[in-house]
Symmetry: C2
Subunit: 176 residues, 2 copies
């Protein structure tokens, strides 16, 4: 196999509870996660070329994302709209996102959520790796990482496990 | 603190995908999990005094549970009905389950699911520990570990992490 070094790497970055919820409700940002998870998130964002994020998640994270190079995935625009330097709105229904990312020369692509965005990349088989922090708590309800109507199984491999703190926030790294 | 040595220990035993699903659909038993997870499950069941299981889960697991001491939680009976030696149907709406377990002298109680049963024990704060195997795959839909209408957070502590096999099935142990 010849690796295409020009191929961008798509990394899903998410935090979930023991029961697999990424948020207790739609308007909750990742503020509920541990300090150590936030530190990891910032480190990954610092290393990335671009952040892909759904419009709802972007709204809850506007401030922390303000200094990042962002592509907001949304149906609120027809194609690609440059909102300001470093902020693009893009409708993936009408624009070939994969080609857009490649044309821009982005190599390290972080997919930040939420559910709808994560599911888009899952269904398109565009996820190269998943960094999932599991916080040791239970919401018992809320949003799942993925929500598809397709009936199939996607296999990953666990690459590493890291305990982030004393209470036991766990960082799992999977590859497709 | 004086530990009540007579207090039964309630252990939730579950397996989930990366995206927190315990099954892709309601009629799926835990047959999708790794051999190593099944070995662990059998070991835990061997050490337990009684298995508490919802009626739906029991139906999908009738054969593997046939030699276990089971209490099936169901609204199909009014109170407690002894179906045969080692198999009791019990309606937790009308019977004090906690007292029943204590009166029977059960010490090691395994809660096997599904979602409705897990949620019952979560809401009643009857979960002492959770053993959760995370299999490195994604269903993208299906049943969650818990499904409550209550708005609160339940905190746990991570006790241990064990990698079960090469592909990376992970056994997590949490305590309340």
């Amino acid at each position: 196999m010849i690796l295409d070094m020009n191929k961008p790497i798509y990394s899903v970055i998410a935090a979930a509870t023991i029961d697999g919820r990424i948020a207790a409700h739609a308007w909750q940002f990742t503020g509920w996660t541990s300090k150590e998870d936030k530190d990891f998130l910032h480190k990954i964002l610092d290393q990335s070329d671009v952040v892909l994020v759904g419009n709802n998640t972007y709204k809850t994270a506007r401030e922390p994302l303000s200094k990042r190079n962002c592509v907001v995935l949304t149906r609120s625009v027809r194609g690609v709209v440059l909102k300001r330097e470093g902020l693009v709105y893009l409708n993936p229904k009408n624009v070939n996102l994969k080609r857009y990312i490649k044309d821009k020369g982005f190599k390290r692509v972080v997919v930040l959520g939420g559910t709808q965005t994560f599911t888009y990349f899952l269904e398109k088989r565009m996820i190269d790796e998943i960094y999932l922090t599991i916080e040791p708590l239970v919401f018992g309800k809320g949003l799942n990482l993925f929500e598809t109507k397709k009936s199939r199984i996607w296999n990953f491999k666990l690459v590493s496990v890291k305990r982030l703190n004393k209470k036991g926030s766990l960082l799992l790294h999977f590859k497709a």
